[in-house]
C-alpha cells in the first residue's frame, strides 16, 4: 500500500454492494426453468458485440435499475482503441 493510498482509500463500498446485488438478483429471480430476461439480454448483446470487437469480460459493467414505471438495463462495455482502429 502506498503512502497516498491511505488517504485515497476507496470507502464507498455501498454502491458496489448495490450494483452487485441488483445484477445477482436479476439472475436469481428467474422462475425455475423460465427465461431470465436481463441475463439473456446481457449474454446475447455481449455475444453480438464480441463477434466484431474483442471484449474483456472484466471491463463490462451491467446495471439494472428497477423503477415504478420503467426499468433500465445498462450495459457498459469498455472497448480498447485498438479494436476500433482501421474500421
Amino acid at each position: 500500500m502506498s503512502f497516498l493510498s491511505f488517504f485515497q482509500r476507496n470507502r464507498r463500498s455501498a454502491p458496489v454492494a448495490r450494483e452487485r446485488l441488483q445484477v445477482l438478483l436479476a439472475h436469481e429471480r428467474a422462475p425455475d426453468g423460465g427465461a431470465d430476461l436481463a441475463a439473456v439480454l446481457h449474454k446475447e448483446i455481449l455475444a453480438v458485440i464480441a463477434k466484431h470487437i474483442p471484449i474483456d469480460q472484466d471491463r463490462v459493467v451491467v446495471k439494472l435499475d428497477r423503477g415504478d414505471q420503467v426499468s433500465t438495463l445498462e450495459i457498459d462495455i469498455e472497448m480498447p482503441d485498438t479494436a476500433l482502429a482501421g474500421r
Binding site: 470507502r11 455501498a14 454502491p15 454492494a17 452487485r20 438478483l25 436469481e28 429471480r29 428497477r66
Partner: protein, 273 residues
C-alpha cells in the same frame, strides 16, 4: 379480526427474535391482545429474549401433538398484561411440527388474540415455511448488508408462492423492517442506504431500527426494548412500526448521522467523555 404476522428474513442473526419481541410488546402496550409464537424448534430463544426462560413448562410442539392444552403452554408476560408467549420446544425432532397441527393452533389463537406474531427460524427449511404458512402479513427483517438483502429477496419469493394466502390467490402483505442501520456509515458510502435496499427489494417500508446498544441491553435483561427503555431510538422505531401495523399513517423518517464536532471527530469518544 385477528392478524397473523410472520417475522422472517432467511438469514440468521439479523434481528428476527428481537424484532418479534419488540413489535409484539409495542402492539400490546398499545392495548392489543398479542401472542408471540416461537417457531424455532430446537433452538428456541424468544423465551430468553422476553425473560420467560424459567417459566416454560409446555411448548408449541406439545400443543401441536396434543400433549398439552394451549392455555397450559401460553406464558403471560409479567410486565405487559395483554402480551403472551408461546415458546418453541428444544426437541431435535425435525418433524415435530405438522402443517395441519400448526394450522389448528393458529386457528385457536385467533379466537383469543388480536395479533399472532410468528417468529420464524432462519433458513428456508420446514420451520421457516411453517412459520409463514398461515400468515396474512410478513415483516421481512433485513440488515443493509449483501447477504441479508439477497436472503430477504429469496424469502419474499417464498412468501409469494408457498403461503396459504398466495396459494388461494390472495396478496400477501410484505413489509420491510430495516435493522442495524448505521446512518453515519450510510452517509459515508460504506453501507447501503435505505433507498438502496428499498429499490432492490421493492416492498413497502415498515420501519428503520438504527444500530443501538440499547437492543443488546434489552436482550441481556430479558425485556423488550420498548418496555425497558421506551425513550431509546430503537424502542421508538419499534413503537412506530407497531402503530403502522395498526393502520396509523406515520411517515418513516430516515435516521440521519449525528453531526460530530471537529474535536470529537479527532479524539473519538474521549473528547465526548
Amino acid at each position: 379480526m385477528s392478524k397473523v404476522v410472520v417475522v422472517t428474513s432467511g438469514k440468521g442473526g439479523v434481528g428476527k427474535t428481537t424484532s418479534s419481541a419488540s413489535l409484539g410488546a409495542a402492539l400490546a402496550q398499545a392495548g392489543q391482545k398479542v401472542v408471540v409464537v416461537d417457531f424455532d424448534v430446537g433452538l428456541r430463544n424468544l423465551d430468553l429474549v422476553m425473560g420467560a426462560e424459567r417459566r416454560v413448562v409446555f411448548d408449541l410442539v406439545n400443543v401441536v401433538q396434543g400433549d398439552a392444552k394451549l392455555a397450559q403452554a401460553l406464558i403471560r408476560d409479567k410486565r405487559v398484561e395483554t402480551l403472551s408467549l408461546l415458546p418453541a420446544s428444544q426437541t431435535r425432532d425435525k418433524d415435530a411440527l405438522t402443517e395441519e397441527g400448526v394450522g389448528r393452533v393458529i386457528e385457536e389463537l385467533r379466537q383469543t388474540f388480536d395479533w399472532i406474531i410468528c417468529d420464524s427460524p432462519a433458513g428456508i427449511e420446514k420451520g421457516a415455511t411453517l412459520a409463514m404458512r398461515f400468515a396474512d402479513t410478513a415483516v421481512v427483517v433485513t440488515n443493509p448488508e449483501v447477504s441479508s438483502v439477497r436472503d430477504s429477496d429469496r424469502i419474499i419469493g417464498m412468501l409469494d408462492s408457498k403461503t396459504v394466502t398466495a396459494e388461494t390467490g390472495g396478496q400477501m402483505d410484505k413489509l420491510l423492517l430495516l435493522t442495524r442501520y448505521d446512518p453515519a456509515r450510510a452517509a459515508r458510502g460504506e453501507m447501503m442506504t435505505v433507498e438502496d435496499v428499498l429499490e432492490i427489494l421493492a416492498i413497502p417500508l415498515l420501519g428503520i431500527v438504527v444500530e443501538s446498544p440499547d437492543v443488546l441491553t434489552a436482550s441481556n435483561m430479558g425485556c423488550p426494548v420498548t418496555v425497558l427503555n421506551p425513550v431509546s431510538p430503537a424502542a421508538k422505531a419499534y413503537d412506530e412500526a407497531a402503530r403502522r401495523l395498526l393502520g396509523e399513517t406515520i411517515a418513516v423518517k430516515t435516521p440521519q448521522a449525528e453531526k460530530k464536532g471537529f474535536m470529537s471527530r479527532l479524539f473519538g469518544r474521549k473528547a465526548v467523555a
